[in-house]
Symmetry: C2
Subunit: 171 residues, 2 copies
């Protein structure tokens, strides 16, 4: 399964693509952080992020797109832009005919570190280890996008196995 | 000047198009409320709203698109979807090469009723009067989208006159 993870943001948006299956080694396919200048018009910034996400989907052809679920409790000053970029990622995936999965930051942290309250350094260290990289992807948005993709490889598969098992029980 | 106003929302998105100029009568061009079912997938809902806004821009060819500025202090349960649809409206306008204006709910209320704390009934009554309609557009999202467009006809013009005057003073 190939998962494209999006850590949405207006100033920095992380995009990470991972190949993997539960119980098998994970493989880094692509990682990037797309930046837009804070003094640009909001329309230009949103279009730049939408285009970058659309281009990554077209180039890497993932099976599913995983997007961080944004909460309004986050940083109130930046949460609107974050929610808008998340929305653009969801639209890009849907227009490409791909399923979209949303995972909360705690789910992502718990998936890759074992703790839902792990800090950015721990997440970065585990992403580096799990993908067998020479160094930690920077900035943190890059590691976060990869963590999101890894989280989905594992959780998505577990969810599918569970729903498959339930379907077998019912029939 | 033709303004297309968007009162963003995931379940109900208001779209209102108004022709006008300061000191001249306003004219209703179009009003609609686009609904999406709460039980549909988020991707389908966002794509439906994006398509509807894009189609309205293509059909009515406004000079500018005015979108309600969303605050996270609003209804926390629905604000993420609202912010996402606002982002899609901004992207649709920018892709069409149109300027985007953001107005806060208080600015819109103050523009059409004289009070930044007016209630929905007051806003609806003034929209009905200013556009010389036989009845108040319903639901409230329809009237709110028209109020936003009217607000921009008046405020946008005032802002332009002020910047023109300042430019003349400087040269």
């Amino acid at each position: 399964m190939r998962v494209l993870g999006v850590d949405p943001g207006m100033t920095r948006c992380g995009i990470g693509v991972v190949d993997g299956a539960p119980g098998r080694p994970l493989r880094l396919v692509h990682v990037a952080v797309v930046r837009t200048p804070p003094d640009a018009a909001i329309g230009e910034r949103l279009v730049a992020q939408a285009d970058a996400i659309g281009a990554a989907i077209a180039r890497h052809r993932p099976d599913v797109v995983a997007v961080e679920r944004v909460f309004s409790q986050h940083n109130v000053r930046t949460v609107m832009g974050t929610a808008q970029v998340a929305g653009l990622a969801i639209v890009a995936a849907t227009r490409a005919g791909l399923p979209v999965a949303l995972h909360t930051p705690s789910e992502v942290k718990a998936a890759v570190t074992g703790s839902g309250t792990a800090d950015k350094a721990q997440v970065g260290a585990m992403v580096t280890r799990l993908l067998r990289l020479a160094e930690t992807p920077r900035p943190a948005d890059a590691a976060d996008a990869l963590a999101l993709a890894i989280c989905h490889v594992w959780r998505g598969s577990a969810q599918r196995r569970m729903s498959d098992a339930l379907a077998r029980v019912r029939t």
